[in-house]
């Protein structure tokens, strides 16, 4: 579960890979040495044609295998997501059922490596309780047994173990953790978690703590500031500034007669224009204020409907659906305010790209933006005439 949320949708939907990720993927192939493939991005097209057919086919087959195995998940997070998974190393503390279940998911997905830290031996109570243990493991190191089963699940993953109790590891060897990308701590008491958390924070490692009790449980992520960019957000908020149209938009709206009697023209007036004009009309009748209470919003919708000539006017339906956009509070939201007011927005040479962007945004808002964000610029689909 942690991986999905941490990396979110960082994988692009268009799957044309960068040459960097292609290299990484090929370098990872379990032991098959195909030297001519690695520098592939450097070779021109003509060179590729000259390679012998059988080498090409072997290369295709070897490259195809992980692609086939991971095909269904590549369609979720793409090459880049997969590369990030394969670069990562996980440390699991305690491999009881909770930890095992988590590792199973990571290993199946092709995580780079897992290291299990668990000092216990397999006991009767573990059997039937953990699907990666069977009778033959009784008395043996639990960590070792789990690892050998995990290895079976995916031989591309490096599965290692340390026979040590996590609490002892935390107390005596904190530097052990710095080699990992993520530490997954299961069934640890709070005292150990507190110590572990400060170790991870100073080493800039992600800590995921999980506990389960019967039908309840918890997962908690402890991570330093982490930037996730939603490059293709599902729900884009059309930013049209209907509550405060800029001069050119106002002009454009004014140039259109929304009461044109021609039915074709009338039903093709873009809804944005309808809203700009009617919002203005409303404001004129309400002391310069735009609809804000639920009652007013309803009345505004009625006002829009009153302008319809016909039931089948899609543009007016669109206007009604988007009518709430004129009631947007001007200025920037609290969440954004919190970010730009953060001390990290005072940038210096060591600041991350994200904070540099924030600093620029802050300046924009204070100057050209006049208290508002830059306009996104995309125009949503709407019913209108071609011109």
């Amino acid at each position: 579960v942690p991986w999905n949320w941490m990396h979110g949708r960082a994988g692009a939907k268009r799957l044309a890979p960068t040459s960097a990720s292609r290299e990484q993927l090929h370098a990872r192939e379990g032991g098959v040495a195909i030297p001519h493939l690695v520098p592939l991005p450097l070779l021109g097209r003509s060179h590729r044609r000259e390679t012998t057919a059988s080498a090409a086919m072997a290369a295709a087959a070897a490259a195809a295998e992980p692609k086939t195995k991971y095909d269904r998940q590549l369609r979720i997070w793409g090459d880049q997501g997969q590369a990030a998974l394969e670069k990562a190393s996980i440390c699991l503390l305690n491999c009881g059922p909770t930890g095992t279940e988590a590792l199973k998911n990571l290993v199946l997905g092709g995580i780079g490596s897992v290291t299990v830290v668990d000092g216990s031996k397999v006991e009767q109570s573990d059997l039937g309780n953990n699907f990666l243990l069977d009778e033959g493991c009784l008395g043996q190191s639990r960590a070792k047994s789990i690892c050998s089963f995990l290895q079976e699940l995916n031989d591309a993953v490096k599965a290692k173990y340390v026979e040590e109790s996590p609490a002892t590891m935390i107390d005596t060897n904190p530097s052990f953790f710095s080699q990992f990308t993520v530490v997954l701590a299961t069934q640890l008491p709070e005292s150990s978690l507190l110590k572990l958390d400060s170790i991870c924070r100073s080493a800039n490692i992600v800590l995921v703590a999980a506990r389960s009790y019967g039908l309840t449980g918890l997962v908690r992520v402890s991570i330093k500031e982490h930037c996730v960019i939603e490059s293709k957000p599902d729900h884009s908020l059309d930013d049209l500034r209907l509550h405060n149209p800029w001069p050119e938009l106002k002009q454009f709206a004014k140039s259109i007669d929304i009461c044109d009697k021609d039915p074709v023209v009338h039903k093709h007036t873009p809804y944005i224009v309808i809203l700009v004009r009617l919002a203005e009309k409303w404001a004129d009748a309400h002391d310069g204020q735009l609809p804000s209470t639920r009652q007013e919003k309803r009345e505004f919708k009625d006002l829009i409907r009153a302008h319809m000539l016909n039931v089948d006017e899609d543009n007016y339906k669109e206007a009604v659906e988007s009518s709430y956009k004129v009631s947007v509070t001007p200025g920037i939201s609290d969440e954004i305010r919190q970010i730009i007011d953060d001390s990290s927005s005072e940038v210096n040479f060591s600041s991350s790209d994200f904070w540099v962007l924030v600093a620029s945004l802050k300046e924009f808002i204070a100057n050209e933006g006049n208290g508002e964000l830059p306009l996104e610029g995309t125009i949503p689909d709407m019913t209108s005439l071609t011109e």
Partner: protein, 629 residues
């Protein structure tokens, strides 16, 4: 239900339970594991599939060495390794087989579905209703998932809310005016590939005529005697991408408001190929699967090829089919696991896309579209499996007040990842569980019985082996064990128009349709109508009779469009079909909008209104149908 009184504790209920799992794939593996770990000890598993490499990223009971073996059997063996003392019976079979009849289903306390297709789900739903066994349904797509509970008489059955019909596209969009890549894929798959390599007797909408007088052939797709393979390939290329486009351009009306396509000819895309007669990019292709990509040295399925590369792939794939797989030509059906077929379809779709100004796609993407591949990951299946077992335990204890339909979302909404909702009461006009009669508008003078059976009874109503009666006259029966003369009689009836059947079907006639195995019986009232809208009612018949919720359609990009529903469900067999992904997302969106729209009269789109309501069980403002008491 097998036991008379509800058992005292969940532990006892679990111990005593006999459970049927249908499906041993993504959900099935996780479910079997969870059932075993939860103490279930009497499990039957049915799955008709064998293990493939692409399963291995999530169906963790399987290993590489198991590829090709039965999922049901291997899953069983894997579980017995860590829980040797439980009883698992595995069936490598289709759940629609006759052996899984009502009596078979009756032996179970609960049925758990982990299926991947609507057809089987409906079938199981009907058997569970007939056997009066509760059903826990489920499904996943990527990070989305859901678990629903269906108990006869208490909750909706799986079919109380009609599921979306597979997405299909109007014929003209595919043959003349594609605007999306998926249209090009459907063209490449269903028209070009089918025409060249599929059943010759099938109707096909591709234009087969060449310029008037230039050829005496009826069908330009036929290879001339002794025609050189290269030449044949190039000739076909020019015909479909060049000539056919020119012909289409002649119709001005079509292009008045549309971008005009560009004809594409080999002499422009691959000038060197025209000069080289007979030499292909040769390579010793005697091992394994022939592949155009391999021959051409294209190794990355995620790369988007240029027009020239696509053209080379097309010609090479074309030739490889004739050179290496000649025997199959005439019988081939597109299969997403057939590498050469995928290469061919990708290349053809891309060239067509280029013509029409549609962005090109990589083989990887094209394969997903052409093969209707559903993205999938282990974690969602694990979550859903857990939820299935939780609901199953409630069912075993008859704890009906706590049954929940649970939706697992892609992104937390209002800080919730899982959204539990109370089930609805059965839909009184559901033809499956409430025996409401249906209405069929059809031209009885012109429509054959065969068409009604194929388009309505088998496909829309989902009956497997139907029986059709008019009054007391049996006009059709399907299945084994028919006498020769009976079978001959039915065959005759199939070809008769409705009005001329032994018991004539006219306006007002009532058909009784049954499927014994599903124990489903329903009546269809016939309404004779002569005029049908060619575009909106291409089948020439319209079935109606249950009150559908707002009908939403998903196209292959997963976009959501809602259309106000009429009470008729449209059969669209005349159009070129392209089944959509499972209907999970649609259901979720419906649910989310039910919660967010307090105003029942507002339109169906999700409105991001400041005044949205929080979802509470039993909130009277939200409930349109009666909730389970």
């Amino acid at each position: 239900m097998a036991s008379a009184a509800a058992p005292a504790s969940s532990e006892e209920a679990v111990k005593a339970a006999k459970v049927l799992m249908v499906g041993a794939g993504g959900i099935g593996c996780e479910l079997l594991k969870t059932l075993a770990l939860s103490g279930f000890s009497d499990i039957h598993v049915i799955d008709l599939d064998t293990i493939e490499v692409s399963n291995l990223n999530r169906q963790f009971l399987f290993r590489k060495s198991h590829v090709g073996q039965s999922k049901a059997h291997v899953a069983r063996d894997a579980i017995l390794k860590f829980r040797p003392n439980i009883n698992i019976e595995s069936h490598h079979a289709n759940v629609k087989d006759a052996q899984f009849n009502v009596d078979f289903f009756k032996q179970f306390n609960v049925v758990l579905n982990g299926l991947d297709n609507l057809d089987a789900r409906r079938h199981v739903n009907r058997l569970c209703l007939a056997a009066e066994v509760p059903l826990v349904e489920s499904g996943t797509t990527g990070f989305l998932g859901q678990v629903t509970v269906h108990v006869k008489g208490k909750t909706e059955c799986y079919e109380c809310q009609p599921k979306p019909i597979p997405k299909s596209y109007p014929v003209c969009t595919i043959t003349s005016t594609p605007s999306k890549f998926v249209h090009c894929i459907v063209w490449a798959k269903e028209l070009l590939f089918a025409k060249l390599f599929g059943d010759k007797n099938q109707d096909n909408d591709l234009n087969v005529h060449s310029k008037d007088g230039s050829s005496s052939k009826l069908d330009v797709f036929e290879r001339d005697v002794d025609e050189d393979l290269d030449q044949y390939a190039q000739r076909i290329y020019d015909h479909v991408f060049g000539y056919n486009i020119e012909v289409a351009l002649e119709n001005e009306e079509t292009w008045k408001n549309r971008r005009r396509p560009n004809p594409v000819y080999i002499r422009d895309t691959l000038p060197e190929a025209v000069k080289q007669n007979g030499s292909s990019w040769d390579c010793s292709n005697d091992h394994e699967e022939p592949s155009a990509m391999a021959s051409l040295g294209l190794t990355n399925p995620q790369e988007i090829w240029t027009l020239a590369e696509n053209s080379r792939v097309l010609l090479e794939a074309f030739k490889l089919f004739f050179e290496k797989r000649e025997k199959e030509i005439g019988n081939l059906v597109f299969d997403k696991d057939d590498q050469l077929a995928v290469e061919f379809v990708t290349a053809a779709a891309n060239i067509r896309a280029h013509s029409f100004g549609i962005p090109l796609h990589s083989l990887f993407e094209a394969k997903g579209v052409a093969g209707n591949i559903v993205h999938a990951v282990a974690t969602t299946n694990a979550i859903i499996a857990g939820l299935i077992v939780i609901e199953a335990i409630k069912v075993l204890q008859d704890d009906y007040k706590n049954y929940r339909m649970t939706y697992c979302l892609e992104h937390p909404t209002k800080k919730l990842l899982l959204m539990p909702v109370e089930p609805f009461e059965p839909n009184p006009s559901c033809y499956v569980c409430s025996e409401t009669p249906l209405l069929l508008d059809v031209n009885t003078k012109v429509t054959k019985l065969k068409e009604v059976i194929d388009k309505i009874i088998k496909s829309k109503l989902g009956m497997n082996l139907p029986l059709v009666m008019i009054g007391s006259t049996l006009v059709f029966e399907d299945g084994d064990g028919l006498e020769e003369d009976e079978a001959a009689n039915y065959a005759l009836n199939l070809e008769k128009v409705l009005a001329e059947l032994p018991a004539p079907v006219i306006n007002g006639t009532k058909l009784t349709v049954e499927d014994f195995q599903q124990e489903l019986s329903c009546s269809i009232n016939i309404k004779h109508r002569e005029e049908f809208d060619e575009e909106k009612e291409p089948d020439g018949m319209v079935l109606s009779g249950w009150s559908a919720p707002v009908e939403k359609q998903i196209n292959s990009n997963g976009e959501n469009k809602s259309a106000a529903s009429s009470s008729s469900a449209r059969a669209t067999d005349d159009t070129v079909e392209d089944p959509s992904k499972p209907g999970m997302k649609r259901k979720l969106d419906e649910l989310l909008e039910t919660k967010e729209n307090c105003d029942a009269s507002s339109s169906a789109q999700v409105v991001e209104d400041d005044d949205d309501c929080t979802m509470l069980d039993g909130n009277p403002a939200l409930i349109k149908k009666k909730r389970l008491q």
